[in-house]
Symmetry: D2
Subunit: 345 residues, 4 copies
């Protein structure tokens, strides 16, 4: 049994961590912080947790956090960056769900997040926690940068193609769509039900913060610089990401072997499901579950590989992957607390 | 570990039973039947179950069902009625999620379901499985009639008032609203997304099959014949029922004691949550959870008690309550397999 | 052709006024004000209006408003109250879509709106603009208080029963449900898509500002003080109100004559549609249209009259009714600009 | 005033035609046919039309249709093909909203629609009715094939690039998303609210009927064979299509001139709106309106042109474009009956 703290618990990622940890047999949540809501019972803000947690939101308190085995950061960017060093020094392990430690190129980070990075030494040491790529490093990591939601769906879908060098790495396209919970729980007019219900649009089409993260991950997989176009869209629903990926096969005659390649690549991954060729993964098939499902498609005799990849942005795209990382870091069974099927319908 | 069969597994109630039983530590699902889909892997119809069940839908086979400890019926009305006797004779226990055994007055049953009841002896013996009312009878029952979704939300909300005789039993009003999954998974034009999305309406306002079931339950609680008006409505969402209940307090000076009365009545009920006076339960706070949340309201110095009661129609209103009944029948911890918090957001 | 001004145009009521006036042949919109957005082209905020209006939001300017024939107020409460006298003195006519002039009892107004009323003389002179009740007074009114959304749906549904004295006026229940646009366009967390999508709840169940307005209107129709319980609910959709009304018939033998009574009462009303007995009006059948549809129901031999009444809260519940009032005030055909059918599906 | 008939009026395209024609000053609808619903008042199926049409669905009757000036076909494919010759011979003009006359290569047509084409002579003569491309031919056409919904959004978005030869025509990608009304109004399980609500998926990713239509149109614009990958997706909403288009600029230095090119290309088009560079068109901005809005994007210094193009699939993607074609064919003002702004919110 480990003691866990959550910094910044009022957002959707925070409540999702609590939902998952509520049934995790090896975890006690010892604190959940929120400056703005300190003193409020967690279950008053999130009535689904009534009867599950007696916790109140508390002011962040270093002494309490340092007494934890693991601290999750579910904060806006710029917060974890400043608080992490003290925890590292105290030997506390951290999974940061924000973007603070995801990018290795800190100039790029500064450009997209609008501030200089304050703890570059930890940015260097942080492990980018996509277990399907770097499971072994996660095991011993003290600081894990939990991947973004879009980057998780996009990277998992492209991985086998790039690792094997089968496609033109300069012509990758990721057309991705997300439910509204990805924008967090802030009182923005643009995220009102009246604004986004019954409507669909692209956003960030000229450039989105997840683009450099995707490029970094895909470049790592390809072993050389990739060219990727990434356009996110907003779906009038709450949870779920679907990414449709397009890549140009260098040798079209290799199309027939792709399905086997994907199945082999993810055969031992508990949270990646390669569906039969020509399937259409639905976001509802992963709603509430720490799962990525994907399927391959080809149109007539085209040399374009099409991959459709779905996750729940709050689970495999955030809190679930964070708990998966925690399980790996502490030697728990990797699926612990993450076994329940998705909620369908 | 018990062996469980499910008859009629292609509907939403069937998949929901599987979703819950997938993580139940004392249950093995040995068969799930469907005449129309025999041979199809369950996970092909319900991709959220990929990796959780290897089952195929099978033709109903008496010998297989008779080898079960418990059989759930998730069938249209009229099916369980005919199959139950053979299972009863074989000593199999049954939880029927259809309406076949809910009503004690079989003339009323025949009138609302459009056919004569074929096994009246079992209709008499069946226990109406609302654990908060008849837990002890359920323990030893061989045949449990699992309550309807609306009747669960409405009865739980009215119970304390009627049991204590505090309100005029001839003037009860239940204005109830349900998500679309309550209508099942059949190819009806009226349930298309294009027909019910972004729209709201009453239906069955001149009479709905759940009316006699509600009347029977409330009459039992009151100890005398009640007069109840019940109007269901269709919400453009998938899961959830909210029932707003109106009753006229005989002695308005007693209003102040109602909150304590409700809290006391449900203090030991793991699946009923009385929220603070004046709260507004949200259906999302019970999405996917076997929970009923309710709250009381009063407008100025009115003598009308207002109760808002919410459940997930597929869980506390169907499959979850069925598993709760199973747990009681087999002496498992009542909350087993039903502990996870609701999925919010 | 008249010149119209709109004060407070950034909310949903403002854009809806523009949508309707865009095709009104007798109206020129000469200004639309917004302190916060002054200088912004209207079509930048509301892209559906691109190509229809060249207007920018402007600071409220008394000289511009005084040059209008009619000014609509689509402001939060407390604004029109202060600006109206100057316009009245200048001979400008006003339709106020806020609540400032709806209540005749200003103590009640002060209690619900949290401030004293500053222009009681105009509150007295204002005509409560429900055309189906006071069309003749509207014709010559200088100041019209446009009814609230819920009050419109509830009053129209109860009117014939109360005017004829057929029901017990002390036991009226109005269970009403609204889409999210009724809450306006402000950055409130509680109205985020992530908060209210796929969920349903009551709100204001212990008391809502529309309760005194409803009570005033029904009391007027009944000719004596009524007792009414009103519970609003939030539907996960954008537009539409459904109100299910319950009243106790004094003489149940009169049930058969109610349908004819309703049809007769609204025979000449262009915007009230009495559907066949036992129908279920859908909110989508009035989406975008200045229409109220209603239908009557009876359960078995009950003495409870059930009325289901639907409107689009932004049209017949706000901007459409305001234009209807304008048409009456200026002698235009009452349906002018309001002829298009609802958008279904 | 012309007399118009509608064949196959029970689907969403049929009701949408009626909604638009209800306010068209030059049209009388003289019949609307449906074999299955003959005798049913149109307003019983579509309550938004109550008070607007007295029509009943009727059996298709050649003599009645031949007395029309124009007949719209809103039928499944294979119907118009057989009925058109008789109407042509009688001098009736036809706008076919089905796919029967859209493809010029009838082998391809037969392959995708699963039957041989029975009236190839008319397939040859039919004008593919995209007014922005062939307005003059439409003017005098007797038979117009109304474009499909996806093909309209995709073609309009790609047109300027291909007409000017600015992009690699072999590497076009169209990632398109549609609301559920595009699937029509049939009782298919897959289109239930319970199946597609709160979920998102690709479909037809290995090949969709609109692919050859898109290819034909783009090839026409480019003047040479194009290579296009088209993946449609299903959005959990009712109306609206968004297509995100990707094309590789031959000369990246030309990026700066694209915005001007698009604005110039559509300057005189009443129903195409080129928004400012970097905008994100929302489907709600065209809901119910015969409008295509689009915007251009570039990511950093990429040579990929990104175009986001939105329409209402039932209006500019079906019934609205059909009325636009009718207006052109009969010399009415092209915007007649199509002036109202979109319904937002």
């Amino acid at each position: 049994m480990i003691k866990v703290g959550i910094v910044g618990g009022t957002g959707y990622t925070g409540v999702e961590l609590l939902r998952i940890l509520a049934v995790h047999p090896e975890v006690t949540v010892s604190c959940i912080t929120s400056r703005s809501e300190a003193g409020m019972p967690v279950a008053d803000m999130y009535p689904n947790l009534r009867g599950h947690f007696d916790l109140e939101f508390s002011e962040p308190d270093a002494s309490v956090l340092k007494a934890c085995d693991l601290v999750f950061f579910a904060t806006p960017h710029g917060v974890a960056m400043r608080m992490v060093p003290e925890l590292m020094d105290a030997g506390v392990r951290v999974v940061d769900l924000s973007a603070d430690f995801r990018l290795k190129d800190l100039d790029v980070w500064a450009q997209w997040y609008g501030m200089p990075h304050e703890t570059p030494e930890w940015a260097e040491k942080a492990v980018y926690g996509l277990p399907e790529v770097v499971r072994d490093e996660i095991r011993s990591a003290q600081l894990v940068a939990n991947p973004g939601c879009y980057p998780t769906a996009v990277q998992l879908g492209f991985l086998p193609l790039l690792e094997q060098g089968l496609v033109d790495p300069s012509r990758l396209i990721a057309d991705a769509k997300s439910g509204a919970s990805g924008a967090g729980r802030q009182g923005k007019i643009g995220m009102l039900h009246g604004e986004i219900g019954e409507s669909f649009k692209a956003y960030g089409a000229s450039g989105h913060r997840h683009l450099p993260e995707i490029r970094q991950g895909l470049t790592g997989a390809a072993g050389s610089q990739v060219g990727v176009t990434f356009v996110p869209h907003l779906i009038p629903m709450i949870r779920g990401i679907e990414a449709t990926l397009y890549a140009e096969l260098k040798d079209p005659s290799g199309f027939d072997r792709l399905q086997a390649l994907y199945e082999e690549r993810f055969r031992n991954e508990p949270f990646v499901d390669v569906m039969p060729f020509g399937s259409h993964p639905e976001t509802r098939s992963v709603r509430g579950a720490n799962q990525c499902r994907m399927a391959l498609h080809r149109q007539e005799d085209s040399n374009i590989v099409i991959v459709s990849s779905v996750i729940d942005n709050l689970v495999k795209g955030a809190a679930g992957q964070a708990v998966q990382n925690m399980n790996i870091m502490f030697g728990f069974r990797e699926t612990m607390g993450l076994e329940a099927p998705a909620l369908l319908p």
